[in-house]
């Protein structure tokens, strides 16, 4: 048994001897981490929804029927010159129909529609400064005045409001993350401190015998890391359970990707390590004398 084996045996000794304490610590840490993970899942859902909405910042300019190619080119040029326009993309009648077919994907419905009733259009993407409710509205008003324009459509203010809400949620996420970070460090640190307190005599003896880092600090650091990592694993399982139970319902809570979950577990482990390290570093010297 080398140093690593010794570390594992010490870890097992502590975990099995202080089962109640470790269980309480894992339970508390899991509860705290679950709040963060659920919030991350809500945020992932909102982000996905907002990504879909982003395309709705675009302004669709529908054209009159039977427009010649030179008329289309002239109109495209005039649209590009409008204030706040970043890019202009032409969508022909055929392209619009193909997109519609792809979106509907119901052959019976498409046959009921008959021929292609969709007009050709321009899709305008505003510059970043104009991606506000007022900016989008001003571009739409200018486009309406141009010749050969049948109609102008844009999503409206609620899309932009949704983006503001997302942005606020991200800010809340950062604050919540920081609070939970401190919470995990505190819970694991307290557990480590109690574990040290329970074994202070042994620790003192080992120090007296000349035991270095591997015999004194390392087992407690490993304990903090393992407890927090186990907690994160339980949290992920709980979150998966919540995700699955909601899957059939109207409100869908997306599960973060495997990479994100691995990162979550890694960060939790690191927080546990930091918590234990703080507990060791702030240990009253009189405990060891």
């Amino acid at each position: 048994m080398g140093p690593l084996g010794y570390l594992f045996s010490e870890l097992w000794r502590t975990l099995s001897k202080h089962r109640t304490l470790c269980f309480a610590s894992v339970l508390s840490t899991s509860s705290i981490l679950l709040i963060l993970l659920l919030f991350m899942m809500v945020l992932t859902g909102v982000d996905t929804y907002t990504d879909q909405l982003e395309s709705r910042e675009e302004i669709s300019v529908f054209l009159n029927e039977g427009l010649s190619r030179p008329d289309v080119d002239v109109l495209a040029g005039r649209l590009r010159l409008l204030a706040g326009v970043d890019s202009v993309r032409f969508v022909s009648k055929d392209e619009a129909w193909e997109q519609f077919r792809a979106d509907v994907a119901d052959e019976a419905l498409l046959q009921a529609v008959g021929g292609n009733p969709l007009p050709a259009s321009f899709v305008i993407r505003p510059t970043s400064e104009y991606r506000t409710a007022e900016g989008v509205r001003s571009i739409a008003r200018q486009a309406e005045t141009l010749p050969h324009v049948e109609d102008v459509r844009y999503a409206g203010e609620w899309v932009l409001r949704a983006e503001q809400v997302t942005s606020t949620l991200h800010q809340i996420g950062v604050v919540l993350g920081l609070i939970i970070l401190i919470g995990v460090v505190f819970v694991v640190g307290t557990t480590t401190r109690l574990a040290i307190q329970a074994r202070i005599d042994s620790l003192h003896v080992i120090r007296t015998l000349g035991g270095g880092f591997i015999f004194t600090e390392a087992p407690y650091l490993a304990e903090g890391f393992v407890l927090a990592t186990i907690s994160s694993g339980i949290t992920i399982l709980l979150a998966r359970g919540i995700h699955d139970s909601l899957a059939e319902g109207l409100f869908h809570l997306p599960m973060p990707s495997t990479q994100v979950l691995l990162g979550f577990a890694g960060v939790a482990g690191l927080l546990g390590l930091i918590g234990s390290w703080i507990a060791l570093a702030t240990l009253p010297r009189k405990w060891l004398l």
Binding site: H204, V205, I206, T208, L209, G210, G211
Partner: protein, 218 residues
């Protein structure tokens, strides 16, 4: 050549002077009693010799890496209650950097035999008598193959029979070129296991004599 040498060493804690201008040297295989009344500085001297503390003034000279070659034995047995006798002794090996299971076994088994602990491998300290506990503590100190064995009042908590056993076992190691330093109040051990006697009083060396086997001073 001296194994450990103290050169004009002074040690003080805050405002209290524990040792004052001590110069001593210790050879391999020496059997040394450190005696004196309470507060004379015996434990401080042993802590300095064990290289666990540094002097306030003066120098303690020892070979590099000597710290790992020092075994300690105290009045309190200081065994780990949640480990077996074997594990307590093996811990001494691991701390001194011996991790191989076979080598640990080769070191621990003969010591257990020698200390009369055979058959107690799996027992825990709570199941042992005071004398047995101290023999485990001695085995733990000796399993590191120390060049210096430092014992601070090693028989303070033992009955006369157990105390005698401990002294006999320590004496064997002196014969194996291990420097053995024993701090004790009890005067009779000096007569029964004669050797060098360093007497401290109020932090200074009052006398440094060698007692012969017949009880006379050298």
């Amino acid at each position: 050549m001296a194994l450990i040498r103290l050169d004009h060493v002074t040690k003080s804690y805050k405002n209290r002077l524990a040792l004052s201008d001590i110069s001593l040297s210790f050879e391999p295989g020496e059997w040394v009693f450190v005696t004196g009344p309470s507060g004379a500085g015996k434990s401080t001297l042993l802590r300095l010799v064990s290289l666990a503390e540094r002097p306030t003034r003066g120098r303690v000279e020892a070979e590099p890496g000597m710290r790992r070659a020092i075994g300690m034995l105290g009045q309190e047995f200081r065994l780990l209650p949640d480990r077996s006798v074997y594990e307590n002794i093996a811990l001494g090996c691991r701390i001194s950097g011996v991790w191989e299971k076979e080598e640990i076994g080769q070191r621990v088994a003969p010591l257990m035999e020698e200390m009369g602990l055979r058959g107690m491998e799996s027992l825990h300290p709570g199941e042992l008598s005071a004398g047995e506990k101290q023999r485990v503590a001695l085995a733990r100190a000796l399993v590191r193959h120390p060049r210096v064995l430092i014992a601070d009042e090693p028989t303070g908590n033992l009955d006369p029979t157990a105390a005698s056993q401990i002294f006999t076992l320590m004496r064997q190691y002196r014969d194996r070129e291990t420097l053995v330093l024993v701090a004790t109040h009890a005067e009779d051990w000096k007569q029964r296991h004669p050797g060098r006697v360093v007497r401290l009083e109020q932090g200074v060396v009052k006398s440094d004599n060698r007692l012969q086997e017949d009880g006379g001073a050298a």
